[in-house]
Symmetry: C2
Subunit: 849 residues, 2 copies
C-alpha cells in the first residue's frame, strides 16, 4: 500500500472529473461551454432546486430542507475542526430537529437556507440564485466551483495519476488486437475523451451518439466516458452488464448447438420412436377420475418427440458447461473489476468512506459528500448525532420484517398452488364438456392460460414485493446508507426470487411426483387429483414455463415498465401544468437547461436494473439443464437492455449523482450464491426431472441387448382395472372400442399379480439410488472443477500486477532521489533553498493508452 | 487505504523492532546490554560468519560467497539509482558469475569480500572483524547499526504508530475479563515488553521463562513478544497454533461427551444385545476358503459392542458439529489475523514486497532484504538479472515433477495394498496353523502388526517424500522465494497427505466392499480372498487405525524427530571437533555468544511444523465421524507441541531471520480445502461406513414394531452351502458340532430359494438410495450452515474496524490542521518559516493496552 501512497502525491488536478447534475437531451445540444452564470464566464457545475416558501404554506416538505439541518451540523463540526469558536449547540441536534419539525416557522427556514448558502460560500464555492422565473414556486441555486477549490479537493482526495508504461511487444500485440476489433469500439478517441472533461455537455452528446443508441448494439461500451459522466457506481454497472452480455455469447452459441443437436437426433430417439409406433398398442390408465377414459400411448407421440429436444445427453454436458461458465464469468468479472479499479485509481479507495453518509439524507448531501470528499467530516458528524437504537428498540421492526417476509413467501406458494388448482379444475371441467374441439385442445388451452396467469401474477407481485421490501427496510432504520441498500436488496431479492422461481421449482421437482398411483390417488381439496405429467416427463412443461416467463417478463418489464411508464409519468406531469401541446412547446423553448431538467424523472438507483439481471442470471444458470436456449434469450434481451438503460440514463432521468464504488457490492455475493445453488439444482433437474438416469440404468442394467429398445415398456407399470377405488373408474370404459382389463401407468411398481402388488419395485429403488449417486458425483465434480477454474485464473490480471510493480520501482526511485537530496543537504550543512528536497516530484504526462 | 496512509507518516523510531541473529541459551544469560564491539559501547546487532580462505583451498564453497556476487549487483544497482557513475559492468552478471565459478581466484574472493564490507559501511553500518580466534577457519563479521541508520530505515518503512483509544465501557469489560483470566496470561508486562526492545537478550530470557516451558502450558502465549523477537512470520505461526489449540478445547470436550454417550448406551443397544444373546443361534459362513469353518455370530459380540462406542446417533451430530467447528475455526483465525495485522501495523503491508527476493539467495541477503527494506532495489536487481526460462525450458522439469508425483502416489497405494496382502496372507497362514492360542488371537495379532507396519511405513515415507518434494521443486526453478515455498508446500502436502490417509481411506470406504459373496468371492493374486469386515462394520478397525496413526505419528515425530535427532546432530557436530567432554566444557567457557551460536542447528523454516499440524487437522476433521476422540488426542498433542516448538526456537536453533508476513499464506487455503473435503468425507463415513442408515431404514421401513429388534437378522442374507464353488468349502464342516445346511453372511441379497438367487435385493437398493440421499442432504445442509457461519461472523472484528474509523478521523484532523496552516500562509503572503506547515505532526505516546 505504501508504494501506492507515494504515488498519491503525484497530484494531477487536470485529471479530476466533475459531475454536474444537469442532464441533456442531445437534440438540444447547447453551447460547447454549457450553461454559465449571468456573467457568461463562470460555468454552472451544479444546480439545486428548492421550493420558494410562501408564508404559511406548510403543504410541501421537500427533502432539501431536511438536508439543511444536517448541513448545519456539518458546518458546525467543520468549524469546530478548524478551531473556531462557534456558540455551542443548545440542544441535541436530533431533538432539535424534532422540535423544528413541530414548529416550522418560515423565518427559521429562511435563516437556515441563508446559513446553508453561507456555508457553501465559505467552502469557496460561488453561487447565483435564479428564483421565480419560468416555473412558479421553484427556485434554482446555481453553483460554480472555482479552479482553486477543485485543486484543494483534488489534493484532499489524493488523486493519483496512473503511470502506464507498457513494454514493446505487448503494446504491438495490443495494437494489432485493437486494429482488428476497431469496428467494435465506440468512436471515442481517448484524447478527446480525456480533454473533454470540462465539457460535460460534449461528453453527453458522445454518449448519446456512441452508446445510447440501438444502432451501435454490436460495439463495446465507452466505459471510461460513462464513468466520467455518471461516476464509478454507474460505470461499474454498465461494465458488469457488458461483461455479462459478452460472456453470454459463448453460452448462447453452445446452448443453440445443444438445442440443434436435440432437433437433429429426434428421429433417432428409440423411446419416442416406440411411443409413436402404432404397432405398440399400449393402453394407458385414465388421467382423471370418472370423466377421463383409457387412452393410447401413441397420442403422447408429439410431446415425447418435443421432450427429446430438451432431454438428451447433450443437456448434461451443457449443464456442466454452464456451471463452469458461471465460475468463469465470476472470475472474468473479478479481473475486469480489478482492471477498472486500477484504471480508475480506486485501488486505495475504501468502500466505507462514502457509505457512512447517513442513509436518510437526500441527494444534495450525498453529492456534497461524494464530490467534496467530506466523508470524514460526515463520519464525525454521524457519530455525533447517531441515536443508538438498542436491540430492544429494533426487535419489533426485525420481527415485523421476518414475519412479513415469511407471510409473503407463503403468499407466493399459495399463488402457485392456486394456479395448480386452476389447472386441475379447468382440466376436469373441460374433460367433462361434450364439445369435442374443446376436449382435443384441452392440454394446450390449460397450459397456455395457466402460464399466462402465472406470468401476470409474477409481474404484479414483483411490484408489490418491491414496495413491501422498501417499507420493511425503512422500519428497521439501518444505520448507514450502505446498510440500508444491502438490507433492501436482500429483502427484495428473496421476495422476487421466490416469486419468479416457485412455479418453476414446482414444475421441475414436485409436479407429477405426488400423484399416487391408479387405485390410490392423492386428492387435494375434496376430489381433485394432483396433476400428472405427460408421458415423457415434466421437462417439456418446465420448458414452456421458463420460455414464457423469460420472454414475457423481459418484454413486458422492458417495454411497459422501463419505457412506457416513465413516458406516461412525464405526460401526466406535463398535463398537470394545464397547457396544450403548442403552448407547451413554446414554453419549453423559453426554458433554460436546468429548468428543463427539472421536469425529468428522478434517478431511482441501480437496484431495479441489477435485480432484473440477477433474476435473469438465475433463469440462465439454475434451470439451464431443462432449457438450453435460456442463454440465447438472455443475450438478445441484454443487447437491448444495455442501450435501453443507456437511453434512460442519458435522456429520461435527471443526471444521477456521481458515486464512487470499488465493486458491485452485495450483487457479487448474490451472483456467487446463485452459481453455487445452480450446481445442485441442475444436478437434480438432470437426475430427477429428465429421463437421463432411467435410460442409462435401463441400458446398462435391464436391457436384454444393451439398446434402448423396450425402455418405454420398462417404465410403465401394470394396473388391474378391477382395483379402481369405488366411484373413480371411467364412465366410458369402452371409449377405445374394447374392454380394458389391464392398463399401464408411468411408475416403477410391482405387478398386480406379485406378492406385494403395487409396491415400489426393485427397479424403482435401483434407479433412485442411481439418480442420487449422479447428484452426488455431479455436484462434487462440478464444484471441484469450478474451484479449479477459480484457482487457475488469477484475480489480478498479469499486466496490472506488473504495472503495480513498476509503480513501486518508480516510487523507490523517487524516494532515493529525495534521500539523495537530504544527504546532500546534510553534507553541505547549508540552509539555502530549504524547500527543495521536499518539493513534489515532477508530474508525468498522463498517457491513457 | 488512504487514511492509513496518512498515519504512516507518524513515524516512530522507538517502536522499531530489531532482529539480531544470535540466539541464547537462557542458562547463560549474559550482561543486560548483550554482546558489544571491542569498545564495549556499540552493540552487536548481527553477526556474519565466513570461512577464512587458505590459498588454493577450493574445497568449500559456502553460500556466503555466492551472496557476495549478488550483493555486488545489488550495490551496482544501488549506485546506479543514486546517480553515481560506476564503471559499467563489463558483462552480464549471470555469465560473469558462471565464469567466476570456473576460475575461482583467491584474490577475486578477497576483493569481493572487501567490496561487500565497503558496501555495508556505505549504508552507514559499523563493522568489526573477529577472525581466527577460537574456531579455526571461521571468521565473524560483527555489525552494528547506529541510531541514525535505524531512523532512516524506519522512515523508509513508514512505521506507523497504532493509536489506541478504547471507549470506557469496553475498556472496563476488557479489564474485568483480563483480571478474571489473569492467571492464564504470561507474565509479560506490556510496558516491560515495550521498553525492552533494545535488549533482545532480556526478551529471550522472558520467552524462555514464560513461553518455552512445559510448566506454563495452560497460559496464553506472549505473541507480541514472540513477534518482536522472531518476526511476524513466526509470530503468526504461533498465533495460529494457539488459536487452533484453543479451538480444539470445545471440540475435545464434545468429542469426549459423544464417546461417553456411546459408552453409556452400549448396554441398551439392541443390535449388539442381539448379537451377544446366546439364544440367537445364527451360523455364519466361513471367513476364508477351506481353512476357516462356520462360526457363531455371538463370537463377534465384543466387536459389536465396541463398534457402538463410535457408531451411534451422537456421531452424526458430532460430524455436523465438527463441520461447523471447522468453519468457526477458519473465521476465528481470520479475525485473529486481522487483529494481529492491525496491532502489528501490517494492514498496509503487501505480501509481495518481501516475497520477491530471489529464492536462491541465502540468509544474509534475505536479512538485508527484510531488515533494510531493500525489496524494491531487489526487485529491480532481480528483473535485471533474471534469465527468462521459457515454457520449453521448464517443460521437462514440470513433466518430471508430475510423473514422479504420480509414481509416488502409486507407490503409496502399492504400500497400502502390500499391507492388505500381508494381512490376508498372515491371516490365512495363522488359520491354517494348528496352534490353538495362535488361532484365538488371530484377529488381534493381524490388526496390531498391520497397523504398526503401516505406521512405520508412513513415518519412513514421510521423510522420503519431504526430500523428494524439495528436489522436484528445485528442478522447476521457481522465480521467487514465495513461489518456491508454495510449490514445495503443495508437493509435500499431496505426497504426505496421500501417505497418511490412503490406509485410512481404504479402511473407511473399500475394505469389506469388494469381497463378493459366498460361492462367488473376489480373489486377488491367485487364491487370496479380499478382506471382510467383522460383523458390526469396518468402523472399529478404522478407529484403531486412526488411533494408532495419530498417537504413534505424533509421539514418534515429536519425540524422535523434533527432540532426538537435533540432539544427535549436535552431538555429532561436537564429536567432529575431536575433544572429550571436559575439554569441550572448558572450551565452551572461553567462547563468546556468537561463537557458541555457531554450533546450533540452522533454522529450517516453518513448513514442517505447519505440515504436521495440517495433517493433524485432516485427521481431526476428515474422519471425525469414525473417531470422536481425535480432537482430544490432537489437543493433548498440541499443548505439548507449542512448548516443544518454543523450546526448539529459543534454544535449539540459531535465531531465525525475522520475516514479515501478513497471513499464513497457502496454509490457509489448504485448511479451507480440507474443511470443505471434510464435509463430504464425513457424509460418506456416516452413510457408508457406519450402520446409521441401515438402522434408520430398518426402523422406519421394515421393522414390524418400529423397534430395532430383528435388525441383525435383517442384515444377514442366506447361503446354501451346496452352492460353494468346488474346493472352497470348509475342510472341517462339522467344526460347530452339527451339519450346516444354510449359513448367513452380511449383505442384502436374495435368498437361495428366490427366482434370482443371490442377486442384490430390493432392500439393498432401498438402503443404497437412502445412504445417497443422506449424503446429498448432509453435504448441502452442512455446507449451507458453514456458509451461514462464514457470513454471520464479520471478518474484521468490530473494535478493530471502529479503531480504523477513529484513525481516519484523526487523519482528517491532521489534514485540516495542515490545510489551516496552508491557508494562514496563503492569507498572510509572508515567506517566514516556510517549513512549518509541512512539519511532521507530533508523535503520540504509544499505549499498547
Amino acid at each position: 500500500m505504501y508504494s501506492r501512497t507515494m504515488n498519491h502525491f503525484v497530484t494531477i488536478c487536470s485529471s479530476m472529473s466533475r459531475t454536474p447534475l444537469n442532464s441533456l437531451k442531445s437534440d438540444e445540444a447547447g453551447p460547447k461551454q454549457g450553461p454559465t452564470f449571468q456573467d457568461g464566464q463562470r460555468r454552472v457545475d451544479y444546480v439545486l432546486t428548492y421550493h420558494i416558501q410562501k408564508p404559511q404554506s406548510f403543504r410541501r416538505k421537500t427533502s432539501h430542507f431536511g438536508d439543511y439541518r444536517i448541513l448545519r451540523s456539518l458546518r458546525r463540526s467543520l468549524s469546530m475542526m478548524r478551531g473556531r469558536d462557534t456558540p455551542p449547540p443548545k440542544e441535541d441536534p436530533e431533538v432539535a430537529a424534532h422540535k423544528h419539525r413541530l414548529d416550522y416557522h418560515e423565518d427559521d427556514k429562511r435563516f437556515r437556507q441563508t446559513e446553508f448558502e453561507d456555508n457553501l460560500r465559505e467552502m469557496g464555492l460561488e453561487l447565483e440564485k435564479d428564483e421565480g422565473n419560468k416555473i412558479p414556486g421553484i427556485g434554482f441555486l446555481k453553483i460554480h466551483a472555482p479552479w482553486n477549490v477543485l485543486c484543494r479537493e483534488a489534493e484532499f482526495m489524493k488523486l493519483k495519476m496512473p503511470t502506464k508504461k507498457v513494454c514493446d511487444v505487448v503494446e504491438r500485440i495490443n495494437l494489432f488486437i485493437r486494429k482488428a476489433t476497431a469496428p467494435l469500439h465506440p468512436k471515442v478517441e481517448p484524447n478527446r475523451a480525456q480533454n473533454m472533461l470540462f465539457y460535460p455537455l460534449l461528453s453527453c452528446q458522445i454518449l448519446y451518439d456512441e452508446w445510447a443508441s440501438y444502432s451501435v448494439f454490436y460495439k463495446y461500451q465507452p466505459i471510461g466516458l460513462i464513468r466520467k459522466y455518471f461516476g464509478e457506481k454507474i460505470g461499474l454497472y454498465f461494465a458488469w452488464l457488458g461483461v455479462y452480455t459478452q460472456m453470454l455469447i459463448p453460452a448462447a452459441i453452445v446452448g443453440a448447438i445443444v438445442f440443434l443437436y436435440g432437433c437433429a437426433t429426434v428421429d433417432n430417439d428409440i423411446p419416442s420412436m416406440e411411443i409413436c409406433d402404432p404397432r405398440n398398442n399400449i393402453t394407458m390408465c385414465p388421467l382423471c377420475d370418472r370423466a377421463c377414459s383409457y387412452w393410447k400411448l401413441k397420442t403422447a407421440c408429439g410431446t415425447a418427440r418435443a421432450s427429446h429436444l430438451f432431454d438428451n445427453p447433450a443437456t448434461v454436458f451443457f449443464s456442466i458447461f454452464m456451471a463452469l461458465w458461471a465460475a468463469m464469468f465470476m472470475e472474468h468479472w473479478k479481473r475486469r473489476q480489478m482492471r477498472l479499479n486500477y484504471i480508475w485509481d480506486l485501488t486505495g479507495f475504501e468502500e466505507e468512506e462514502v457509505s457512512l453518509c447517513p442513509y436518510n439524507t437526500a441527494c444534495l448531501l450525498l453529492y456534497v459528500c461524494s464530490y467534496f470528499s467530506l466523508d470524514y467530516v460526515l463520519i464525525t458528524l454521524f457519530q455525533e448525532k447517531k441515536v443508538k437504537l438498542t436491540c430492544t428498540d429494533r426487535a419489533p421492526a426485525y420481527m415485523t420484517g421476518l414475519f412479513t417476509m415469511l407471510i409473503m413467501v407463503g403468499v407466493t406458494f399459495a399463488v402457485v398452488f392456486g394456479v395448480i388448482l386452476y389447472r386441475i379444475s379447468i382440466k376436469a371441467a373441460l374433460h367433462m364438456s361434450s364439445n369435442p374441439t374443446a376436449r382435443t385442445n384441452i392440454r394446450a388451452t390449460v397450459k397456455g392460460t395457466a402460464a399466462v396467469i402465472n406470468l401476470v401474477i409474477i409481474i404484479i407481485m414483483d411490484e408489490v414485493y418491491g414496495a413491501l421490501a422498501r417499507w420493511l427496510t425503512l422500519l428497521e432504520v439501518p444505520k448507514t446508507d450502505k446498510s440500508f441498500e444491502e438490507r433492501l436488496i436482500i429483502k427484495t431479492f428473496v421476495l422476487k426470487f421466490a416469486n419468479a422461481f416457485s412455479p418453476i421449482v414446482y414444475l421441475a421437482f414436485f409436479r407429477g411426483r405426488m400423484v399416487g398411483r391408479p387405485g390410490d390417488y392423492v386428492y387435494v381439496i375434496g376430489s381433485y387429483r394432483m396433476e400428472e405429467c405427460a408421458h415423457a416427463g415434466c421437462l417439456m412443461e418446465l420448458c414452456i414455463q421458463l420460455c414464457i416467463t423469460m420472454l414475457g417478463k423481459q418484454l413486458i418489464q422492458n417495454n411497459l415498465f422501463e419505457i412506457g411508464i416513465p413516458k406516461i409519468k412525464k405526460l401526466i406531469r406535463r398535463r398537470k401544468s394545464d397547457m396544450d401541446s403548442q403552448q407547451q412547446e413554446d414554453y419549453n423553448m423559453t426554458l433554460q437547461r436546468h429548468e428543463k431538467d427539472h421536469f425529468l424523472g428522478p434517478f431511482v438507483g441501480l437496484s431495479p436494473e441489477y435485480m432484473e439481471m440477477i433474476i435473469q442470471f438465475g433463469m440462465v444458470t439454475l434451470f439451464v439443464a431443462s432449457f438450453p436456449l435460456a442463454p440465447l434469450f438472455a443475450l438478445l434481451n441484454n443487447i437491448i437492455e444495455i442501450r435501453l438503460d443507456a437511453k434512460k440514463f442519458v435522456t429520461e432521468v435527471r443526471r444521477p449523482i456521481a458515486a464512487r464504488a470499488k465493486d458491485i457490492g452485495i450483487w457479487y455475493n448474490l451472483l456467487r450464491g446463485l452459481s453455487k445453488v445452480a450446481v445442485i439444482v441442475n444436478a437434480f433437474v438432470i437426475s430427477f426431472t429428465s429421463d437421463f438416469i432411467p435410460r442409462l440404468v435401463y441400458q446398462y442394467m435391464y436391457s436384454p441387448d444393451g439398446s434402448m429398445h423396450g425402455f418405454v415398456n420398462h417404465t410403465l407399470s401394470y394396473f388391474n382395472v378391477s382395483d379402481f377405488q369405488p366411484g373413480t373408474a371411467p364412465l366410458q370404459p369402452m371409449h377405445l372400442g374394447y374392454e380394458v382389463q389391464i392398463c399401464r401407468y408411468k411408475d416403477y411398481r410391482e405387478t398386480p399379480w406379485s406378492n406385494t402388488p403395487y409396491d415400489l419395485s426393485k427397479e424403482f429403488w435401483a434407479i433412485l439410488a442411481c439418480r442420487l449417486a449422479f447428484v452426488v458425483v455431479f455436484q462434487n465434480v462440478v464444484m471441484l472443477m469450478s474451484d479449479f477454474v477459480d484457482w487457475l485464473i488469477p484475480d489480478i490480471p498479469k499486466d496490472i500486477s506488473l504495472q503495480i510493480h513498476k509503480e513501486k520501482i518508480l516510487m523507490v526511485e523517487l524516494f532515493m532521489k529525495e534521500e539523495e537530496g537530504k544527504k546532500l543537504l546534510r553534507d553541505s550543512h547549508s540552509n539555502q533553498s530549504p524547500l527543495q528536497p521536499r518539493s513534489r516530484p515532477a508530474s508525468h504526462t498522463p498517457s491513457n493508452c
